[in-house]
């Protein structure tokens, strides 16, 4: 069980694909202008990543080492096509606003990276759990970025949620504050880079604090120190 706990810790925090591995930066920066887009891309990535990890793990003993990468890419491409068709059918508005970045999930390094680094060496259950945790970590980063950029850029949250969740979600939109002049840079890709930089900085600060606390705990344990006899002048 502790192995699964470790996988979750790795995916959600320690080895977070967005904040630490910095994988899949292209969609991460391009489509996180609103929370809705971020959630849509996150869910799509989640479906593809879990599916690809399971499939790769299933066939890991039958695929010759030399051609494993093309095989993985074929699996991922098939899954992405399926997800793309699903979104096209059930959330057409989101399909339009995600645009090219939906088919581009194929090239998202998180997915091929997990297939190669984890799923091709581990059991199906572990691989599925790893895919789930990695994509949840990725989605959380997407959501945080989307929230920051949407609040700064247009002063709302969950704008256009009905595109993803159906007409009932239109009421979810929260007007955080009224902006007369939108802060355009937050909506543009440079703003995504700035926000991403600050998110990584916050993560590093939290890590440093945790490390310090752990060290303090260690230091409270009695330590035998040798008294210095000679004086250094």
């Amino acid at each position: 069980m502790s192995e699964f706990k470790e996988i979750a810790w790795q995916g959600l925090w320690k080895n977070n694909p967005g904040l630490v591995q910095l994988l899949g930066l292209c969609p991460l920066l391009a489509v996180t202008a609103t929370v809705t887009n971020a959630l849509g891309l996150g869910l799509a990535t989640l479906l593809v990543l879990v599916g690809s990890n399971i499939s790769v793990s299933l066939i890991r003993n039958y695929v010759p080492k030399e051609i494993r990468i093309p095989v993985f890419v074929m699996i991922i491409a098939a899954l992405v096509t399926a997800v793309q068709l699903l979104i096209n059918a059930y959330a057409y508005g989101l399909y339009l606003s995600l645009g090219i970045f939906l088919p581009l999930i194929v090239t998202n390094c998180v997915i091929i990276g997990r297939a190669e680094a984890f799923a091709s060496r581990n059991t199906v259950a572990k691989s599925a759990y790893d895919g789930l945790m990695m994509s949840i970590g990725f989605t959380l980063v997407l959501l945080a970025l989307g929230a920051v950029r949407e609040i700064l850029g247009q002063g709302t949250l969950f704008d256009g949620a009905d595109l993803l969740l159906g007409p009932w979600a239109a009421g979810l939109t929260i007007q955080v504050w009224q902006v007369d002049t939108p802060f355009l840079i937050a909506m543009l890709p440079p703003g995504a880079f700035f926000a991403m930089g600050f998110l990584i900085a916050v993560k590093n600060i939290i890590d440093q604090r945790l490390e310090k606390r752990r060290k303090n705990k260690d230091e409270t344990a009695p330590v035998i120190t040798r008294a210095r006899i000679t004086k250094v002048s």
Binding site: T181, F183, L184, I185, A186, F194
Partner: protein, 349 residues
């Protein structure tokens, strides 16, 4: 050339950063004065606001970084950043525009990269670009030159407009197209050329006089004078400014000769917009520019050529901020390949 014989001490005093920055501020004063005369009180208020904000943010971030506050403030670099951004923003820009700009310049561009001497980009220009990209409407409505404006706001009215105490005032002043705010000469040239007007027709507009821009001509002359003063005081070297202005002059002359009716004359290019203040006060920032003499010439030439290319083919009427940032990016590269050769040494790249 005579060989000077000097008695000891032979080591001359190096200029302190604070002294250099003080002289920069002093040399920028004629330009500020010209801006006040030509465009009203707006820029003076903007400069005061910008400097106080810059000092405030600098003190806060120094405290956060556990650095000595007073000693670091005494190098005047934050004040120069504030001064330059205050001179660059439109005179009637709202106060929050300046607050966002200064916060970005001091906190992100300067201190997140390690403070004075470590920043990759010129803080004032990075902030200017951020504001220009984010708030195009506020950033492009410049005040009309006071001698052709229908109404110029008084000091109190300017204060009220900047601090948005009276929204009504803004509405009153922006009613007429040529009322208080209007496009800059370079902006006018760009839009009118795309509308099919010829240079002669554009130059007949009230914004121009004898082939040069109203108001802007004197502002640029004042900055030119301040710049020459800086070179005399040995605050800056001549290479960057000369190469920048020179290459812009060559490019615009070639363009003007190629099509005099579809290109602004070199006079318009050199004495409109930010040409002189950028060439002398902004491009020459010792932290972000190239550091060898030959490198400075290349650095300046890159800026001049980029300005001409963006002004002529790009989407923005004035391009100094973008050109300076792009040249800042090139500076480490230039410094790597253009190294002064010392006698007896070979350069190994």
């Amino acid at each position: 050339m005579t060989f000077k014989i000097k008695s000891s001490p032979h080591i001359s005093v190096q200029l302190q950063t604070g002294t250099v920055m003080q002289r920069v501020i002093l040399c920028a004063l004629p330009g500020l004065l010209a801006q006040i005369v030509c465009f009203g009180w707006g820029n003076l208020i903007q400069v005061i606001l910008a400097i106080s904000l810059a000092v405030g943010f600098e003190a806060c971030i120094l405290k956060l970084r556990n650095r000595p506050i007073l000693i670091s403030l005494k190098d005047y670099s934050a004040i120069v950043t504030g001064l330059l951004l205050g001179l660059a923003l439109p005179p009637l820009a709202p106060w929050w525009l300046m607050a966002i700009g200064i916060a970005f310049a001091i906190v992100i561009v300067k201190h997140l990269y390690g403070g004075l001497g470590h920043n990759l980009f010129n803080p004032a220009m990075a902030a200017y670009v951020l504001l220009l990209v984010s708030f195009p409407v506020q950033m492009t409505s410049w005040v009309a030159p006071s001698n052709i404006a229908l109404a110029s706001p008084s000091l109190m009215e300017t204060l009220q407009v900047i601090f948005e105490l009276k929204a009504l005032v803004v509405a009153q002043f922006s009613q007429g197209i040529d009322g208080v705010t209007m496009a800059t000469p370079l902006d006018t040239f760009k839009t009118d050329l795309t509308m099919g007007l010829t240079s002669t027709e554009i130059l007949a507009k009230p914004l121009f006089m004898n082939g040069v821009s109203q108001g802007w001509f004197y502002v640029n002359l004042a900055y030119l004078a301040g710049g020459i003063m800086m070179i005399k005081l040995k605050v800056i070297r001549w290479q960057i400014s000369t190469a920048g202005i020179g290459s812009l002059a060559i490019c615009s002359t070639l363009g003007f000769m190629f099509g005099p009716d579809t290109h602004p004359s070199p006079l318009i290019h050199l004495f409109s917009g930010a040409t002189m203040i950028a060439a002398f006060f902004i491009a020459t920032d010792p932290v972000t520019a190239a550091t060898s003499n030959k490198g400075r010439l290349i650095f300046g030439a890159i800026i001049g050529i980029l300005v001409y290319v963006i002004r002529t083919f790009g989407g923005y009427p004035d391009a100094f901020a973008f050109a300076v940032l792009l040249a800042n990016l090139c500076a480490p590269f230039i410094d790597h390949y253009v190294r002064p050769k010392t006698y007896g040494h070979r350069i190994n790249y």
